[in-house]
Symmetry: C3
Subunit: 350 residues, 3 copies
């Protein structure tokens, strides 16, 4: 795709600082550092001003024009970027046309809202209700009595099992599984006996569930993902978890059963939270960090920064670590003895 700078300025409601450049064509969007002629770049924070001054892009979309550059000046460059990328995205990933594909199966006992599209090979079982304009793409499975709101995207080969409830504008990516039974077993006579999981999964408006992520069914009460939560790929939300509004869950994060996570929390890449732990509003669990033994308070941040030891160092650390608690005691004892020696030495002085 290709735009002329004049067109672009009109499109985003901005002002082109060099009207003579209105006919210049741009076809790419790059970072300030990487952009060259034919590219567009964005400056939305003054801390990138230095990078902007040496930027080789055909134009920079900015709040104010740094001298010597062709700019399109707008009030909110970030919003302009989101809008432009959104238009490119829509062209590249158009909605399926409304209607049920000939190779899909939609039960006679399912209810489809106006404008719903069901792709090739998709399945919608009896009792399911799909809201207006929702897209259920190829090979996706929507189980019995599932409720899905309006304007949702259920991507190819996603699985939503019986009874689950999803709000409006929810995105479920390929390979995700919603509503699998929680992992509840009792040990009876040395065997694992299944505890039937009769709870449900509730996913509120504007949630995104990543590829190959699971949200499992509650044991008795429901598992709940509140509005605006975004979940990356390979994440595991176990039975009876509850995740607060607008929380961000990055890739490969997992939690045990009955975890409560507050609002606007960040669980960074590969975070882990144990059964029954609570993470307060606005807390941050760092990359690879684990919330195991105690809860995390609102606003608290934890990190595990274990990193980059060469193998021999790592091996030595591993062998020494079990000595660490004892080393601490030995150090304390030694300090006491040196104090005494010091005193003796002072007394012994002439």
């Amino acid at each position: 795709m290709e735009f002329e700078l004049g067109q672009l300025a009109d499109l985003i409601g901005g002002e082109l600082t060099e009207p003579s450049q209105a006919g210049v064509k741009v076809s790419g969007v790059r970072s300030l550092d990487a952009a060259g002629p034919g590219d567009l770049a964005f400056l939305w924070d003054d801390k990138y001003l230095a990078a902007a001054r040496t930027c080789k892009a055909s134009a920079v979309i900015a709040r104010e024009a740094p001298g010597g550059l062709t700019c399109i000046v707008v009030d909110d460059p970030q919003a302009a970027m989101l809008m432009l990328l959104g238009q490119v995205y829509e062209m590249r990933h158009p909605d399926l046309p409304p209607g049920v594909h000939a190779t899909a199966f939609v039960s006679d006992e399912a209810t489809l809202g106006e404008g719903v599209a069901v792709g090739p090979g998709a399945v919608i079982e009896a009792g399911a209700t799909i809201g207006e304009r929702t897209q259920v793409r190829g090979g996706a499975y929507v189980g019995h009595n599932v409720t899905i709101g309006a304007d949702c995207q259920v991507h190819p080969n996603a699985t939503i099992l019986d009874h689950c409830w999803l709000g409006d504008r929810v995105t479920v990516w390929s390979g995700a599984v919603i509503g699998k039974d929680g992992f509840g077993f009792l040990q009876r006579e040395g065997k694992n006996v299944r505890v039937p999981q009769v709870g449900n999964v509730i996913i509120e408006d504007d949630v995104e569930v990543g590829a190959l992520s699971t949200v499992t069914r509650g044991a008795i009460e429901n598992t709940i993902i509140h509005k605006g939560v975004v979940i990356d790929d390979h994440c595991h939300v176990a039975h009876n978890c509850e995740i607060g509004d607008h929380t961000v869950i990055c890739g490969r994060t997992a939690m045990g059963g009955s975890v409560k996570v507050g609002k606007n929390v960040f669980l960074l890449q590969d975070a882990g939270i144990s059964n029954d732990r609570t993470v307060g509003d606005g807390a941050v669990v760092g990359r690879c960090a684990r919330v195991l033994e105690k809860d995390l308070a609102a606003g608290e941040q934890i990190a595990l920064a274990a990193a980059n030891y060469p193998p021999v160092t790592a091996m030595k650390i591993q062998l020494t670590l079990p000595e660490l608690p004892n080393m601490r005691l030995r150090l304390k004892k030694l300090e006491k003895r040196v104090d005494e020696l010091n005193k003796a030495e002072e007394q012994g002085r002439p």
Copy 2:
């Protein structure tokens, strides 16, 4: 769903302590702490007796009746709970009706036992054999020459690849992949050359494989999951692993190739076991713990309790850890020197 207490007592073969309450209706099951009027709760261990005494449930199912509560007294409250929840579960998740759905594909060369149900869009390839009453749900894939026993549940969009063998009452959850080739490569001239994996996967009776979990095919010998093993979601059982009876494998646990795990082992959330390691019967690998350098003996327990350090502490620990082995040597040296000083000081005393 709703029961009268009298009905319930009959259903589970128990005795209602307050016959006047026989007509009271309950519609939920909650924990002793959370239950209120209209709920049922369970007391199966005397350690919860205090919670039971203040419980607000309409009735408590218990072995003996704590004073002042409406109870249904049964010999085995846990069994009663499993039975009741099982009935609720069956109502919420009824079996598919026997037969092959119009949109499914079952090869003419496949063999289906009596009462088998094949859901919409499911595929059963040539040479596959499916035991009596087994449910292969919507979008599930059963490959060539696969054998599945009786009374199994293959959930929507599960994948069972060619030749795999599953016993009776096996559950395979959505997104699980059984029988992918093990990750065997040889490096030849700087390239990765595939070692063809000609082994198989054997899954014995009463095993459950969680959502988005893999059990990969053996290189030459088979990968074997023995009877009664339960595997949670996002788990990885690699080629040539063998897992003993009734072992419990919690979410996100992974193992390398040729791992041998004994009977009644617990691998807790996010455990990891390296290639070729052995874990003895009844061992416990704690949350986030790794069996890397040496085997785990029968009954042995390991844990990694790394947790909840604030970021600055974590960073400091990280920077200091490579000094730890040297600190140990310095400490030892210092102790020796202080010993000598002590001796000198004693000799120097008048």
Copy 3:
């Protein structure tokens, strides 16, 4: 399957050292240690000579014949093994017959090369191009405008989303998801706003992507997997990553966005790499190791060998670790004081 030793020698172009054994039948392949009568074993490195001498196999395929054994002598026993196992594998996993299965959906606007096979329930959307002899197996999904080269294997229930580009001889295993949008969000007014991801995924020749692994779409630039890379199961290659030729990525390895990994790198089981990190050619990231705070140079190796502490030790280590940086300071101070005492003691000597 069963071979006579004479047949086998012909098949792999080798010489049978005991021609009288030409009619002996073998039906299995085992390791030198495990093999018995009726089995075949391989000796490709002299370091296994001792094991070979006591091997009970009916024949050993070797470069030179150790005395007292029936051998088939070949120049390259490893190549012979790959060839033989390859033949067994092909018999066990034959290609689908060319053509489109009656229950598959192939858009009229898709282009299939000669000899392409599309299995039951598979979907190929408009604008997709599939190269000669490629196999798209049951339930797999190939999105709009996807390009797949020749001789590829797309396994059952794999998902390749719109626009992705795959070279020749690429294998995509079941449950893998290629081309999901990268996890890019901006926080605006406390909400997570999707950054539309308009980049693509490029997968070059001879790449293998494991079961339930993801390769996500770039934000603006592409995510690129260069030729010969092999990726195990449960791996996460995030948006804008670039992986160099012939790199090996073992099970459960994950990386954040914009990671650059060089050629011939080994990322061992459960490795992790943070956003924007670079790993140089030939580097090795050990089992469970994390590249978090700084890049890894070419050839550099890191390992995290944390392992096998009993729970009480692990708990004590955990409690003591926050003291470690302070212990280091105390130790240093103590050394200084003991130095001074020593000097004083020496001066005090008569």
